[in-house]
Symmetry: C2
Subunit: 447 residues, 2 copies
């Protein structure tokens, strides 16, 4: 089809700017919503396109390693779901999600001490959608979300998309520091700010790798309650501890003060995009309305496939196998760091996917990234995990996806890059950094 003639867009009267013939100016530049101005493609996105090449060892991504999944068995499940339950699996479903799956989710959550009712659960398109919906129903522009320093980049992106401010609270080896939370909330209250949510990843934190101690959990909850702040407990990694049983969730301590987010992406597989949220009754009702507005309903095909997997396969055994697999990779990364990067510091995570590394003084993880990619190793600079783009002395290394051999090779390459940077710093007082900017909303490769 060729275009039928239409008059040129006018430059006056209408909102869009003129679309000069032949240029790629955005004719809708002046039409975007206020919230859209914060959405920018990060320049590290282009780097990650390179980082996904096979010759690059990516210690950047949060993709689970799926090769241990019984694909034949899962294929048979997928076949049965469609061939025998297709009229349901291929049809629209409930906005809240499949009831059988919601009951099975309760079984999973019982491993973390959570007692809930199926009606408290809303199934979402990955727990990222849960995060979006919770933010949507609570955050007005200018409201404050309190979050760990550092915090999950995908959550910071959601908070930014709803024009929240984020106040970071320090963490240590036992997770969020209650005294720091208290003083931050007190300062914000004194400044007249409206704090709506405390966002926390209490287990095997992304990116910091630490977990909130059991002793701190009721204290954090009590402080949040006292300041009228809803706790958003984001727990994708809680069942992936390497050496110990899962800790009781914060939600197990309080039904009304916590919204809990769960996911099958790390304990099973992300490709079905199934997560969930557990919320107090009235909040849950609003989440369902918000989800219906956003997507009508989650995929029945995905939900029934996961439900059938849970009822017919040894999902506990699969989680155990994941734990062993990731422990071996964690060990490979930690020993490689000790061998090749003794001048940096890092923590030894007891579960999850990530190690948080502090570079030697004077080095900037963001400036260094282009050179690292040139040296065929990728990571996520710490700046991605701070709302204000600080954290450049840190980087996140993930050990979830590459093999132990590749992890060791990646750390070896990284050590070479760090050595080169140190030389530059010693010679010139600074490394010749690439022009850099705040990292915004990287895609799922850094989830």
């Amino acid at each position: 089809m060729t275009s039928q003639p239409v008059p040129p867009r006018e430059t006056s009267g209408g909102h869009p700017t003129s679309s000069a013939a032949g240029t790629r100016l955005d004719p809708w530049l002046t039409s975007y919503a206020e919230r859209t101005h914060g959405m920018r493609s990060s320049e590290i996105r282009a780097l990650f396109a390179v980082a996904n090449r096979p010759e690059v060892v990516s210690l950047a991504g949060g993709m689970p390693f799926l090769e241990g999944l019984p694909l034949d068995v899962l294929g048979d499940i997928a076949q049965r779901v469609v061939a025998t339950r297709g009229l349901q699996a291929l049809q629209y479903g409930s906005g809240q999600g499949d009831e059988t799956l919601r009951e099975q989710i309760l079984d999973l959550m019982r491993l973390e001490g959570i007692e809930a009712h199926p009606d408290d659960v809303v199934v979402t398109t990955g727990s990222q959608q849960a995060l979006d919906l919770v933010t949507r129903i609570f955050i007005d522009p200018g409201d404050v979300v309190v979050a760990e320093a550092p915090s999950y980049v995908g959550a910071l992106g959601v908070f930014r998309a709803y024009q929240a401010d984020v106040a970071h609270v320090p963490i240590d080896a036992d997770g969020l520091v209650p005294e720091a939370l208290e003083s931050t909330l007190a300062s914000l209250a004194a400044a007249g700010r409206t704090v709506k949510l405390l966002y926390t990843v209490p287990n095997f934190h992304n990116p910091a790798g630490v977990s909130m101690s059991e002793e701190r959990r009721p204290r954090v909850l009590e402080i949040a309650r006292r300041y009228g702040v809803l706790v958003v407990e984001d727990n994708p990694y809680g069942l992936l501890g390497f050496d110990s049983e899962p800790r009781d969730a914060i939600r197990s301590l309080d039904e009304d003060g916590v919204v809990y987010l769960g996911s099958f992406s790390k304990t099973f597989a992300p490709g079905y995009r199934v997560g969930w949220v557990v919320a107090p009754h009235a909040v849950r009702e609003k989440l369902v309305l918000a989800s219906e507005s956003a997507i009508l309903c989650p995929s029945n095909a995905s939900q029934i496939a996961i439900s059938t997997y849970l009822s017919t396969c040894d999902w506990r055994g699969q989680i155990k196998s994941y734990r062993e697999q990731y422990r071996e990779r964690r060990d490979a990364m930690i020993s490689a760091l000790a061998e090749h990067l003794p001048e940096a510091s890092w923590n030894v995570p007891a579960g999850g996917f990530y190690t948080w590394v502090r570079l030697p003084d004077g080095l900037d993880a963001k400036d260094m990234l282009p050179r690292a990619v040139t040296a065929r190793v990728a990571y996520v600079p710490g700046t991605a995990f701070y709302f204000d783009g600080s954290g450049s002395e840190h980087l996140r290394l993930s050990f979830c996806y590459p093999t132990p051999e590749r992890i060791r090779e990646g750390v070896r390459r990284l050590a070479g890059v760090v050595a080169g940077e140190k030389e530059l710093v010693e010679l010139f007082g600074t490394s010749a950094g690439a022009a850099s900017d705040v990292v915004h909303a990287p895609g799922p490769d850094v989830a």
Copy 2:
């Protein structure tokens, strides 16, 4: 697990209202965002729970009739997708969507005269998510969306969720009336309002059943361009015409002035939740960022299943079979209306799922609904399709899901209810309506 003791929530200082022991008051009542106040469960939702009982003939829902799908073949596809491509299908994918599927979507759209590049397409969780994302990036509170009168209830819910105002523009048998669009936009401009979007369902309109004539399409586009308004062309039904080939899409006339929404829900199956949006380049970039923030990425499992279906099955034959199936149902409904409800008026849709019925004078479709459900027939009152809750003299009947026999029986029951209402009106001057309210965001059962 029993709860560990935590102090009671304070009533002063914090935002939440007190959660009095034992009551079901919402402790977060004062914490919700401004946009959340418009989200209310509609009272017709409860009625629809009843309407879903098998003894009720539901002429309310927008569920496609899937029994003609080759479930065995689709089951084998699902098996192959997971067993042979599971490492991709079960993994995170691209935020923009699978590239092969985006190329296949171009083939579909060529049937409507659209020439585009795979990079112009973003795959979404149903086209509802596309609607949410477009609204998210363009609408500030108080902005105006212009839409047909009546308009799709699920779109009105999205606009409300982003605190837009909706200005309705009349339609006739040839769709949106250009002169009315022009005068509406002129009035809004004179009033200093900011109009961002023109939302239109040009083919086999939901709920009105009409299509925009080919002659009007460039005129509507020209008016929108002149006022700097982006056209959102929502086209789930365009390939489901009963008697003629698809019309060229508005998008086929203009690459820069139109955002086009498509869906596999009606031409294949809704359970995978796969739709898409085609947008001008800069808008497309923002849609991808917004989608990554909302869900990280669409389901690879769903996308690859649909992509395999498109490449290995006769999808054109399936669409032809749907067209025949829905034509037979449309015929059953129209002949039953002529037989049983001659005192009402309706249109004869040339495609899609819906007929728009005007009741005899003095009757109120919303007030009448509880009695209709008691008489074991359900529909959606016209009030759902107007932003201000007007339209009570209309109702939407859908002929997509029940068999022709059930459709005839449903219309017969509806005629009995209408006769009873007319008697009440003649006796008392009004029907004794149930206390009613504006219908908000019904779930997918009325999609």
